[in-house]
Amino acid sequence: MGSITFNHVYKRYKGEARPAVNDFHLSIEEGEFLVLVGPSGCGKSTTLRMLAGLEEISEGDLYIDDKYVNYLSPKDRDIAMVFQNYALYPNLSVYENIALGLKLRKTAKHDIELRVNRVARILEISHLLGRKPNQLSGGQKQRVALGRAIAREPQVFLMDEPLSNLDAKLRAQTRAEIIKLQSELKRTTVYVTHDQVEAMTMGTRIVVMKDGIIQQVAPPRELYDQPANLFVAGFIGSPQMNFIQGSVTREDGRFYFVNKRIKLPVPEHHYPGFNRDRNGISFIMGVRPEHALLKADTGREEEEGWVRCEVEMTEITGADSYVYVRLGEQTVIVRTDPDKLHRKDDKLLVSFAMNKVHFFEEQSGDSVSLKGDAQ
C-alpha cells in the first residue's frame, strides 16, 4: 500500500518551450521517504502537485498502488498534503481543521473525536484545539497542518517545503519530529525542499532535479560520495565541492590530471573512464573540502601530490574552520582543524586525497568515473 509509479511524466505549460517537468520516470516504494530537491524553478513542486492531483499531467502515466490516477481527483487519491504556508482554514478552530477531512469522509462522530485527540496528543497541541489559526505561532500552525494530514491516515504524505517558513531552531526541531513521525507511521512520504541539508538528513532516497530533469536518484550517502554530474556535486554538500579545471594526460600507462600549476596522478579505479580517446578534452576535478589537506611550506622542492598555495581567508564555524586558498587562478576551500590558525597570504602546501576525488567532463558535466563503471 502506498507505492507510486511515475511513467515518463511530462508537464508542459502553454507558451513555454521547455517542459516544466521533463520525462519524470521513477518508482517510489511503499514506506519510503523520498525527497525531491533542487533550486527554485526546477519542477519539484510541480511534480508534487501532479502527484496530488492539483496539476494536470501533460503526458505520461501516474500510478498509486498500481491504480491509474492521472484523472482521479485529489480527494480520491488517498493522500494528504502539508503546504509551505500551512494553509490552515482560517475560519475553523484547530479541532475543526483537523477534523474536516474526516467529517467530509463521513467518519463517525465519536471516531473523529478519538482520532483528533490522539493526533493532538502526539503533536502536543491538545491545549490549542479550541483556538483559531490566527492565534497560533508559526511552529504551532505547522504542527496543526501536520496533524490535519496525519489524522486522515492516508496512504501517502506529500510535503511541499513545510519547514521553509520556520526559524532556524524550530526548523531543526520540526525536522527531527517529521523524521520520527514518518518512521513510526511508516507511510510513503514525498517531501519537496530546496535545502540540501534537509534532503540529506530526511530522505531515504533523494531525487535531485534541475530544469525539470532528474539529475540523479540515490540514497543520501551515495549522492554525496558518487555524484552523477557537476550539478549534483555542486548542489549537495556545504561548503560546496571544489572544482579544478585541467586535462588528463597519459604517461607510461599512468594517467595524470594536469593544469598550469598541478600534476596529480589519477587513481586506478578511474582509468576505465579515461581509456577511451579523450585527448584534448577538458576535465574538471572535484574535491570536497574535507578531502584536501594543508601543511606548512618548508620551501624545499615540491613533493609529488603537494602543491604550493596562498591563504585568502579563513572561516571558523566552531567545530571546523574552512581555509580558502589560492591555487593559481582558482580558489580551493579546505576544511582544517580550527586550532590551526592561518593568516592571509600565508604560503602553504595543499594536497588532495586522490582516491576520493571526482572527475567530470567539462563539456557535458557528466561524471567520468560513473560512466567508466557502466562500460
Binding site: 480527494k75 490552515l88 467530509l104
Partner: protein
C-alpha cells in the same frame, strides 16, 4: 509618591471638540427624520420650520397605515412587496456574485479575461442608458407585474462581482487546495471556505444592494403596471409628487420616510463591523 496623570494637550481638546461637533452635525438628518415623522400637520408646514417636534403624535403613521381604507391598494401591500423584493434580491445577488467571484478569482477557463473585461465595461453604463433595453427584455420575457421583474434587473451586479473577485483572490489558493485534498467538492469548498471567508465583502455588498433595492422606484415605474406589485419606495414617491395629495400627503410622507430609513439603519448597524474588517483587510494585504 506622585501619581502620574496623562497629559491632555490643547490640541487633543480641540480635536475631540471638533470631531464631536462634526458627529453631532452628521446626526442632524437622522434626528430630523425621527422628529419629522411624529409632527402634527400644523408643525409640518410651520415657517420657519422647527427641527424638534413640539407635540408628538402617532397620527401620521396611523393615517399612512389606514390609508388602505380609502385607497385602492393598502400601504401594507407596498410594504410587503418591498420586503419580499429586497429580501429575495439581496439573497440572490449575494449568491450569484459570490459564485461568479469565486469562479473568476480562483478558476482557470477560456475567455476568463473577456468575461472580466465585460463586467468592468458594464460598470461604465449609466442606468438610464439601459432603461429601454431592460424594458424590452422584461416584457419580452413576460415577467411584467411579477416579483421576478423586480429582482432580475438587480440580479447581475457588476460592482458586487468586481468587489468579490478582488476579495476572493486574496484567499490563499493553498487553503482551497487543502480543502480539495481533504475531500471537499467544489460546492463544499464554496460553502465551507469561500462563503465564510468572504463575509466582510458580502456585508458591504449587502448594505449597498439593500439600499439600492429598498429605495428603487425604477422597476415599479417601468415594469409594473399593476398597482399591487409596486413597492413602498414608489408609493412614498407618489405621495410627494402626485398632484392631488402632495399637500395632504405630507404627513404620511413624513412617516413613510421614517419607514424607508429604519431598515437601512438596521442593516448598516448589523454589518458595520464587518465592513470595517473589509477595509482593514484590504488595507493591510
Amino acid at each position: 509618591m506622585m501619581r502620574r496623570l496623562r497629559k491632555i494637550t490643547p490640541f487633543q481638546v480641540a480635536l475631540v471638540t471638533s470631531f464631536t461637533a462634526l458627529a453631532a452635525f452628521m446626526s442632524l438628518p437622522i434626528i430630523f427624520i425621527l422628529n419629522h415623522a411624529f409632527k402634527p400637520q400644523n408643525e409640518l408646514f410651520l415657517f420657519p420650520p422647527r427641527f424638534l417636534v413640539q407635540n408628538p403624535t402617532m397620527r401620521n403613521l396611523e393615517s399612512l397605515l389606514l390609508h388602505a381604507s380609502n385607497a385602492t391598494v393598502p400601504f401594507t401591500r407596498y410594504l410587503f412587496n418591498s420586503i419580499i423584493v429586497a429580501g429575495l434580491t439581496l439573497a440572490c445577488v449575494i449568491l450569484v456574485s459570490t459564485m461568479a467571484g469565486y469562479v473568476l478569482a480562483k478558476h482557470k477557463f477560456h475567455f476568463k479575461q473577456l468575461v472580466l473585461a465585460l463586467i468592468t465595461l458594464s460598470l461604465m453604463f449609466a442606468p438610464e442608458t439601459v432603461g429601454i433595453p431592460r424594458y424590452l427584455i422584461i416584457s419580452g420575457l413576460g415577467i411584467n407585474n411579477t416579483y421576478l421583474g423586480h429582482i432580475l434587473p438587480a440580479l447581475a451586479s457588476p460592482v458586487a462581482v468586481f468587489m468579490l473577485v478582488g476579495f476572493i483572490s486574496q484567499i490563499p489558493g493553498e487553503v482551497l487546495e487543502a480543502a480539495k485534498i481533504d475531500g471537499a467538492s467544489q460546492v463544499g469548498i464554496f460553502t465551507r471556505m469561500v462563503l465564510p471567508l468572504s463575509m466582510p465583502a458580502i456585508a458591504t455588498i449587502s448594505i449597498f444592494t439593500f439600499q439600492g433595492v429598498w429605495g428603487d422606484v425604477e422597476t415599479s415605474t417601468l415594469f409594473m403596471q399593476e398597482e399591487t406589485m409596486r413597492t413602498m419606495a414608489f408609493y412614498v414617491n407618489s405621495l410627494l409628487s402626485g398632484l392631488q395629495n402632495s399637500v395632504a400627503g405630507q404627513n404620511m410622507a413624513a412617516a413613510a420616510a421614517l419607514l424607508i430609513f429604519v431598515p437601512n439603519l438596521i442593516i448598516f448597524l448589523l454589518f458595520q463591523r464587518r465592513v470595517l474588517e473589509t477595509m482593514v483587510h484590504s488595507g493591510i494585504k
